[in-house]
């Protein structure tokens, strides 16, 4: 019950901050932008001019799966950035302003406090993500060719898991620092490091959560789910639980001090 109270309060707060409106819109724009500009590239080049007389521009239209991956890649960069930025103050701002002491002076358990906040943010980000991917899919099928909707939905669900891991990392640093900027900065550094290390040792770290989007690409192209995908998902879930546990314990230790 207590968990639900915090959860509802957080959802209401997101609504008041207009997060429920602007985050989905921004995600949709990110997902839709790249496929559209790719489709209209020849026309854009033509109207900008500067091409020598008689030069023919032959840019092969990418297959639908590749166009769809443009949406995913765009969200992997800008979407993650937005996710980090909107959640950088989840706990740290309350630590700083003292609201947190007010809340925890009541018999509120730390576990409820952290998980309810995390869940509310996850709901917002996941729904925005799925909506934006559907919008991207709509444009891709219109401009480049068919992708099965069920295939997209499965990909979207897997992709959400990567974002949930990102949010849990941000939550962990939220409990450690009071400065929102610092939380965002360190979270982004850590996520970048995961991405870079994974891309260097991708043949060894086949279970890395950062490879989820790569496996989604393979799935969209071939229709086959790699078995390593499940390993990545499993590791993501484990890391998520670890990050949240660390968040809860650091918050507890803070209270003892």
């Amino acid at each position: 019950m207590q968990w639900l109270v915090i959860f509802n309060k957080e959802l209401l707060e997101h609504l008041r901050n207009f997060k429920w409106i602007w985050v989905p819109i921004v995600f949709i724009l990110f997902a839709v932008m790249d496929p559209i500009t790719t489709y209209y590239l020849p026309i854009i080049l033509e109207s900008v001019g500067g091409m020598p007389e008689g030069a023919s521009i032959d840019i092969p239209s990418p297959p639908p799966a590749e166009a769809m991956m443009m949406s995913f890649n765009q969200l992997s960069v800008l979407g993650v950035l937005i996710a980090v930025v909107i959640s950088m103050g989840m706990v740290s701002s309350e630590l700083k302003s003292g609201v947190y002491e007010l809340i925890l002076s009541k018999p509120v358990s730390y576990i409820h406090y952290i998980t309810a906040k995390y869940a509310a943010m996850s709901v917002l980000v996941s729904i925005s993500l799925v909506i934006s991917l559907i919008a991207g899919w709509y444009y891709v099928t219109l401009l480049f060719g068919d992708i099965a909707f069920s295939q997209l939905l499965v990909s979207a669900i897997f992709y959400v898991i990567w974002f949930l891991l990102v949010l849990s990392i941000v939550m962990m640093f939220n409990t450690m620092f009071r400065s929102q900027g610092l939380v965002a900065f360190i979270s982004i550094i850590v996520i970048l490091a995961i991405n870079i290390i994974t891309s260097i040792y991708s043949h060894v770290l086949t279970w890395s959560p950062a490879l989820i989007s790569d496996y989604i690409g393979i799935y969209l192209f071939s229709g086959n789910m790699e078995t390593e995908m499940w390993m990545s998902v499993l590791i993501s879930v484990i890391l998520m639980v670890v990050a949240l546990t660390i968040a809860i314990t650091t918050l507890k230790n803070r209270a003892i001090e």
Partner: protein
């Protein structure tokens, strides 16, 4: 051809407009922003997609 471009781009322009309008409504209602309000109004209107995002992320922080 021109018509299809129009139909495809229209929803995107619409979404951007919604984003700008919501940011402006919020700017009008909010008591205090980080920095002067007129500056944020300019950023929202002329900042394209980035403007409203910057406002929601940085500007409306108490």
């Amino acid at each position: 051809m021109d018509e299809t471009i129009f139909q495809l781009i229209l929803p995107i322009v619409g979404l951007q407009l919604i984003l700008i309008v919501i940011a402006l409504i919020d700017l009008k209602r909010i008591e205090e922003t980080q920095g002067p309000k007129w500056m944020w109004a300019l950023i929202i209107i002329f900042g394209n997609l980035i403007g409203p995002i910057l406002y929601f992320v940085i500007g409306r922080r108490p």
